[in-house]
Amino acid sequence: MPEEIVMVTPDKSFVDLVAEYGGEGVKMCFQCGTCTASCPSGRNTAYRTRKTMRAAQMGFRDIAFSGDDLWQCTTCYTCQERCPRDVPIVDVVVAMRNIAVAEGKMYDPHRKTGQNLVEIGHSVSFGDKQKKMRADMGLDEVPPTVLANKKAMDDLKKILAATGFDKLVG
């Protein structure tokens, strides 16, 4: 029995959105599957890079955002190095993640990382334990980053607010 052939129509609005977020290069993809074959993350999960690229090309939002596939990419660039069409695969993944996040789809541990950035200007927490560790090694207790200068931290906060990041992770 031949399999049923289903006609699908690309969703141009999603394709355009992906392009707007920096994933335009996906249009070069000719679906060879080299990326999937190269992907270390796909060996452990259901994530299939080629399929995700197809979803981006055709605007299949449901496929792109189904499950946690999109978030299994480690951004290792192995696929991108080998892609015969020079598709900027990681940019495409990042573009689709940006869209998902803008729609409120995010994982709590990631949100926490984002909140750390808003609170202290770094992506990991900092407290007395770390201060002591630094002092014991003969380093300044507080590193000379935004952590040591309120004005610098305020500047960073303004940038995060101006680009809507605080609301995103708020």
Binding site: S41, T74, C76, Q80, Y107, L139, L168
Partner: protein, 282 residues
Amino acid sequence: MAKKYAFFLGCIAPLRYPGLEKSTRVVCKALGIELVDLKDASCCPAPGVIRSFSKKTWLAAAARNLALAEKEGLEILTICNGCYGSLFDAAHELAEDKELLKEVNGVLKEIGMEYKGTTKVRHFAEVLYKDVGIEAIKKKITKPVDYKVAAFYGCHFLKPSGIKGLDNPENPHILEDLIAATGAEAMPRAQASLCCGAGGGLRAAFPDNAMKLTKTNLENIKESGAKYIVDICPFCHLQFDIGQKDSGYSFPVLHLSQLYGVAMGMDAKELGFSAHQTPVKL
């Protein structure tokens, strides 16, 4: 020639493994590299989670860091592949795309800053290899070691190679050469370019998948006969150091700066091994 760079700390080195910061400072000094702290810098921001959340935020905050170095008139030196990935990529995009630079400067204007697009971003390993050179390094090695090690490049040092242009990512030699300068030997292994597992937000949200990648690496490292892991990224460093807990493996994890410190006769205290979870027995 005195070599001077703006030292960009990032997050994981200063806040989780300050020994990496410390050993970089002492090793650079010994090699005649002057590090000027890039004061007021923030997270690069992280190429995994923060860039995945908002490329716009990522680029603007990276541009602020780049502008701080531009003001000092110095190239940035980083000891982290994540910071290197973010800052190098952002600097590249902003140098190539004047419209984008204009847009980003619109944001920086809010804090009275401007980025002209001139900052060069360098990785510690690359600076050692290119600006100091293997022969000059060898002269400073006072206590050569005979360790068999796994050279762990991580992902964002060489890749994307189209813009990094440092080495062939499928068959590189820079790190092996830098390791050989200390007397140590980098053992060839299967899947040598496999990701440590931490990147892209995996460690935080999907630790099972992350750990599978880490374990595959550990198996390959064991097979190769290596007894130590030498990395050039605090995030790979953390993934291997913490990831070996209850794994049955216990390879001491050394950042390249720490290996150099050992081979230059510095003591363990100065190199910050006390912060490691997998004990460093030398």
